[in-house]
Symmetry: C2
Subunit: 280 residues, 2 copies
């Protein structure tokens, strides 16, 4: 066990320590947003989820050990409630937006200080709210402890509202960001360069496209969110992202956050906003 060293994180002293991602095996889930940062940055990381030296059962066991109620952390670290978990040297972190906040400046995907730290953090929190947290509720509106099959009528109602109201709202927000002066042009979300927020938006759209392909197709073809879908393509074509997506490391979607139940898209009537002139 190490002793706490409050100053360590300010510098890059720990950059020699390997980054380790601990997550449920077999699905992209929330862990995928972390993987994309490493992949874009070209920085090696140990992925306990797809480490071929471990069986899925062993990988799952590693998660269970961290989240065990009897595991109360150590002198440096607080207990862990849920994965994804990042281990970097002696530091062990949880909470997806927190892990991204920690990693992004170290991987060259966000400024190390100043306004940009907070502007990107709020953007990422908003994207995760809309496309990850609320997405999860579409198939589990009553309880995470129940199967989807046990909450289907409620899931259908929630999904209808999600697709008709919430997804357009969050897509509209991203489009609005891409019209803002602070984005520095329509290419990237903030500061006219690729940041981790762009990677998060990419994965949000990719997952939503798996879960609700018909609705997303309608929204895309409406051309109301053109800059958003262009950004999606732009991220996908980044050389490192493109080779990652073609690799075995990119896990197929399944029973994680992003799930495809075609019945949830039925009877959905996307209401599009009135066309607005570009304001920049």
């Amino acid at each position: 066990m190490s002793s706490p060293d409050a100053k360590r994180l300010k510098t890059d002293d720990d950059d020699d320590a390997p980054y380790e991602l601990i997550y449920w095996p077999g699905l992209p889930g929330r862990g995928e947003l972390i993987r994309l940062l490493f992949e874009q940055a070209g920085v090696p990381y140990i992925d306990h989820t797809i480490d071929h030296t471990k069986t899925p059962k062993e990988a799952r066991q590693t998660v269970f050990e961290y989240i065990d109620p009897d595991n109360i952390g150590d002198a440096t670290n607080l207990p862990i409630l849920a994965p994804p978990i990042l281990k970097h040297g002696d530091l062990v972190l949880h909470q997806l937006p927190n892990i991204l906040l920690y990693l992004a400046p170290r991987l060259g995907l966000a400024p190390k200080e100043g306004n940009g730290v907070f502007l990107l953090n709020q953007l990422v929190l908003t994207l995760l709210d809309g496309f990850v947290n609320e997405m999860h509720e579409t198939h589990h509106p009553i309880a995470t402890s129940l199967y989807y099959e046990d909450q289907k009528p409620e899931a259908k109602k929630r999904s209808k509202h999600y697709l008709e109201e919430r997804i357009p709202k969050f897509l509209g927000y991203a489009q609005r960001v891409l019209h803002s002066e602070a984005s520095g042009g329509e290419t990237w979300l903030y500061g006219n360069k690729l940041t981790y927020a762009d990677l998060v938006l990419f994965q949000c759209l990719d997952g939503t496209n798996f879960a609700f392909p018909e609705s997303l197709k309608k929204l895309r073809e409406s051309r109301h969110y053109e800059r958003v879908f262009e950004l999606y393509k732009r991220v996908k074509e980044q050389p490192n992202i493109s080779s990652y997506l073609a690799s075995e490391r990119r896990l197929p979607y399944g029973d994680g956050i992003f799930r495809h139940y075609s019945e949830l898209e039925k009877d959905v009537q996307i209401k599009l906003p009135e066309p607005r002139p570009a304001t920049l």
Copy 2:
């Protein structure tokens, strides 16, 4: 409009600028978690919500202007999706955990750098997930655009699971943190001193006690989460918090995140975990 200054936030250059909180008038809501930081720190702030120079209608109008789809921010700031909103000098932030992350070190309620920044951020994100975000879903499990009355059967189902499974889980997590070495003793959540995480936990419990008093009473009387409820009392008795709570500035609960519908607590059967010996 000011030009961006990426270095500014690193120092305290802006400390002369007043802090302004912009939120929906008439309810504590998410804004309350921000107020508690200012109140504990004894730092003045302009609260547009309870500013007596403004009618509630005008205060609401201020929020609408920020979140208007045609408001795309400026050279410094990205657009705002939803309140609470913090204005500090030229910087305008949204997203509750982001605003807390920005304020806490400036108000002496979190370290300015090092591990503690991330350990506290993950703790606060976890508390907000459990007691604020999931709390909202208990009365709005289908859609935020519908009235509670239009989703009562689903709200009842969701609340039962929330009270029987989720609240004990998050209380258990907070108790686990208070057993951890990194908490530095059982008094405060992290580093043996009061931080903004303690203020957040206080408000989470206070709001939950308003929404679900019978369930919280049972959980409190079980003595399974004794350190958590002791911390609640300890925060409440802080001189600045105590005078704030007695003041007119502390708004009564109403139709915000924390709502009391007694029917949602009926037929709830709190299952308590087996007693565990203290591990420290």
